[in-house]
């Protein structure tokens, strides 16, 4: 019976081509808009480290009191160097990553190759383990390198390609900004977007980071941050030494706390530390600290741009209007066929049969809308970069499950939209219809 109704439905598509086309088009547009923006929203708000997001925390310390630079009354999103040094002394955390962006240049020993920009981060060794950075060759520098701030370096795949033609370059030398470094490891392509591990630093580049130096090394060489520095209004300090003595914050600091007990202990350690700073006269306000996990941090830092949310809401609104529209058009379409229904009923068709036939017809329209919707979704995803920045648009990919979702949503919309019109159709009185003929 289903195939028969399906054939009837297919055949009736050719009736009222304009109205049918309009319905299919509207369902397709509504579905494609919703699916595209949903894919975008879920891509930008996806958990970057599902295995560890509940174990990675960012401590914040209020070092400004009433003169906070953030406008929501929260402590700075980054820490001062002295706080990072003090907090690192604590052994509660199983991992501690201090991070700040650097912008260096590499001068190849082969003079035929032009100097190249080498952007990246100064990090502590724990960074690589905490954020699951994949290595192609070698690995992270040693604990001793980390403590001493030796000349070890981890480079990215692209830089390795450019300077060493992609060979295993572990142990070879790399001159960076007037110093010679020893390559400890080469990463495979690693460029999670948004750059969740250093959200507070906007650098305006989306290409993957290519150099990682030991944090202590960068500090010893006084390499300035290439990212944000949060200072008091009219900060008048001069040079590096003033900066590290000041209350300017510029370092992202993460701790890994694997279990609930450690989290509680770290929380009290953090407020005790701030309380200490108050006692020794650095702060003259009550201790105010924060400890957010990765998930909460990304939400707090508004990593999902409001434009993405707005577009999702608008797309849902569009889908809703398209659904209401489809209800109206289906109602008109089915009621127009009152005489047919009357005859079928008079010839003995049950209400259920009418129900089934018209629901299948609606589903056929939905299917057609879904297939067109898949095409439109592909177009929309392909042209996302017209509307969003490349770094946002690039992280959305069209896969089979998205496409299946589009078809399913279209059929669902059509069937929901058909519910009331079908009910009305099934209420048509055979006698009345026959009389008016």
């Amino acid at each position: 019976m289903f195939t028969y109704y399906f054939n009837l439905g297919m055949r009736s598509l050719s009736r009222n081509v304009v109205i049918t086309g309009l319905m299919i088009l509207l369902i397709a547009v509504g579905v494609a808009g919703s699916i595209t923006t949903y894919a975008l929203l879920s891509a930008v708000s996806a958990d970057p480290l599902p295995l560890k997001s509940r174990q990675l925390f960012i401590p914040q310390i209020d070092n400004r009191g009433a003169d906070r630079v953030t406008n929501d009354g929260e402590p700075d999103p980054e820490l001062t160097l002295r706080d990072v040094i003090e907090l690192r002394a604590n052994r509660e955390a199983t991992g501690q990553a201090a991070i700040y962006p650097i912008y260096l240049s590499a001068v190849p020993t082969d003079t035929r190759i032009e100097p190249v920009a080498a952007k990246g981060y100064a990090v502590t060794a724990d960074f690589f383990r905490m954020f699951l950075v994949p290595f192609q060759y070698g690995s992270v520098w040693s604990k001793q390198d980390d403590d001493e701030g030796s000349n070890a370096v981890v480079i990215g795949r692209d830089l390795n390609q450019k300077l060493f033609r992609g060979e295993n370059s572990v142990g070879r030398e790399l001159p960076l900004e007037g110093h010679v470094y020893r390559i400890a490891g080469v990463m495979t392509e690693w460029n999670p977007l948004p750059r969740f591990y250093a959200v507070a630093d906007v650098q305006g580049f989306e290409r993957s980071p290519q150099v990682f130096l030991p944090f202590q090394r960068a500090i010893n060489l006084k390499i300035p941050t290439a990212g944000s520095t949060f200072c008091a209004l009219n900060y008048q300090g001069k040079g590096w030494d003033d900066l590290v003595r000041s209350e300017c914050s510029w370092i992202s600091f993460w701790v890994e706390l694997p279990e609930a007990k450690a989290i509680t202990r770290y929380r009290s350690f953090l407020s005790a530390y701030a309380e200490d700073q108050r006692a020794n006269g650095r702060f003259n306000w009550p201790a105010y600290t924060r400890l957010r996990d990765l998930d909460q941090w990304l939400q707090y830092m508004k990593v999902v741009p409001s434009e993405v949310r707005i577009s999702f809401i608008v797309a849902l609104g569009l889908l809703l209007v398209c659904t209401v529209n489809t209800i109206g058009l289906l109602l008109a379409r089915f009621m127009r066929r009152g005489p047919d229904i009357g005859i079928r009923r008079a010839l003995g068709a049950s209400r259920r049969a009418i129900y089934a036939q018209y629901l299948v017809e609606a589903a056929v329209i939905g299917l057609a809308g879904g297939l067109l919707g898949v095409l439109l979704t592909l177009c929309f995803i392909g042209s996302l970069d017209l509307v969003f920045e490349a770094k946002i648009a690039r992280i959305v990919h069209s896969d089979a499950s998205t496409m299946a979702l589009a078809v399913a949503l279209a059929i669902l919309v059509a069937v929901i939209a058909a519910a009331y019109p079908v009910w009305r159709a099934s209420r048509i009185q055979p006698a009345w219809q026959l009389k008016t003929e």
């Binding site: 529209n325 109602l331 008109a332």
Partner: protein, 412 residues
């Protein structure tokens, strides 16, 4: 011609579902479109705010030095670059700075006070570190006072620069600091240090693209900037030479010294390209919302046509009867259009409330401003006109029906 509203109303009660569906669609469309137009207009104003500089002739070079330079070396190398640039054919003038108008998301904010130890500053502003070439480079107009003299400009870097000396401010900042008096020659305080205003220039946008409340309160501080890492070279090309300069400037700089990095992809860009990138998110939202609004309006029009055509066909006999009883074509046309008007009016009334509700929700979650009623009025007018246009086809079809229809079979 008087339009009989009462019979139309009572006729409409026979089509509750259709009326409800059209009205609901109109209401939802209005709620979305009114808010969308509001957001669009706000972003358009924001995107199209003038930078205040000679945009089409400006090229920006992002220069990075290679090797660890001392402050002195950085000064010498930057000076050599600028001297070469100013001689380069097609270049009118150039200077080095850490930023330029609407460069990006982050700001260096200065609080400017009228008293030495004032608690909160009179105005916020954002600084440029400029030499005596900056005014000519940007093409900004000196409204009052003078430019910096070469000997007033002191060497410095972003981390370390003189906090003393004269300043030049924009008209907008001058008006904020001294609403009724002349600002020229007055002393203001930045971080407790006295600075004399020696010049007032035409308004010029600040470096941070996200700054809204003090977007034109720029301060020029006399610093010959040369960072060890490198700076942005702002280059003013002679009229019509911008594209030529953009293509050739990197090679010319490499001739001065090879120990530098100018990114092959985005190391040299026209100001236009940089600016459009800075506002790309807002422009994207405008495109998206406009497209969605047009689709919504077209969908609503299509829905209205679909249902109205059905109604007209369904009432063939009645229309024929009215015609047979002496109603003119224009009466039928008026009937259908009035009917349509009433339904859309119902939709608009509900939609206005809905638009405010949507706006309230958006204000709470997405930091949106309150929706002014003009946008609802605009959206309503748009929907009314669109609705009447959509109803015109079915109404004409109804008016064309012959009185003979009364005697023919019903819908078929």
């Amino acid at each position: 011609m008087s339009i009989p509203v009462r019979p139309i109303l009572s006729a409409l009660t026979r089509h509750k579902a259709g009326v409800f569906l059209i009205a609901l669609q109109v209401a939802l469309t209005l709620a979305i479109v009114a808010n969308a137009i509001f957001v669009i207009s706000q972003r358009v104003i924001y995107i199209s705010r003038p930078s205040g500089i000679d945009e089409s002739n400006i090229v920006v070079v992002d220069n990075r030095w290679v090797g660890a330079l001392t402050p002195g070396q950085a000064q010498t190398k930057t000076a050599a670059d600028l001297a070469m640039l100013r001689q380069l054919p097609g270049v009118a003038d150039a200077y080095a700075d850490y930023s330029f108008p609407a460069a990006g998301p982050w700001a260096t904010v200065w609080g400017i006070s009228l008293e030495a130890n004032q608690k909160s500053p009179t105005s916020f502003s954002e600084p440029y570190f400029t030499d005596e070439h900056a005014l000519a480079t940007y093409g900004v107009r000196l409204v009052a006072g003078r430019n910096f003299a070469a000997e007033e400009v002191t060497p410095g870097s972003q981390l370390e620069q003189s906090t003393r000396g004269p300043i030049i401010i924009t008209q907008d900042l001058a008006k904020k600091l001294f609403p009724t008096e002349l600002s020229l020659g007055r002393v203001v305080y930045v971080g407790g240090i006295a600075r004399t205003i020696v010049g007032v220039i035409s308004d010029m946008e600040v470096p941070a693209v996200s700054t809204r409340s003090f977007a034109y309160r720029s301060v020029l501080s006399p610093v010959r900037l040369a960072d060890a890492g490198g700076d942005q070279y702002i280059v003013h090309a002679s009229p019509g030479q911008a594209e030529h300069v953009r293509r050739t400037v990197a090679a010319a700089l490499y001739q001065v010294s090879r120990l530098r990095v100018i990114d092959a992809i985005d190391g040299v860009q026209s100001f236009h390209a940089l600016r459009s990138k800075a506002y790309s998110r807002d422009r994207g939202l405008v495109i998206l919302l406009s497209t969605a609004s047009i689709i919504l309006l077209l969908a609503t029009a299509g829905g209205i046509i679909g249902i109205m055509v059905f109604w007209v066909d369904e009432r063939r006999r009645q229309i024929g009867l009215r015609r047979a009883l002496g109603a003119k074509r224009s009466d039928i046309l008026a009937h259908i259009l009035t009917e349509n008007f009433l339904i859309i009016f119902l939709g608009i009334s509900v939609g206005s409330l809905l638009a405010f509700t949507v706006n309230l929700a958006l204000m709470q979650y997405l930091e949106m401003a309150r929706l002014p009623t003009t946008y609802i009025a605009l959206g309503s007018a748009l929907l009314l006109i669109l609705g009447q246009c959509a109803a015109l086809t079915p109404a004409r079809r109804a008016a064309r029906m012959s009185p003979m229809e009364a005697t023919r079979a019903a819908i078929g």
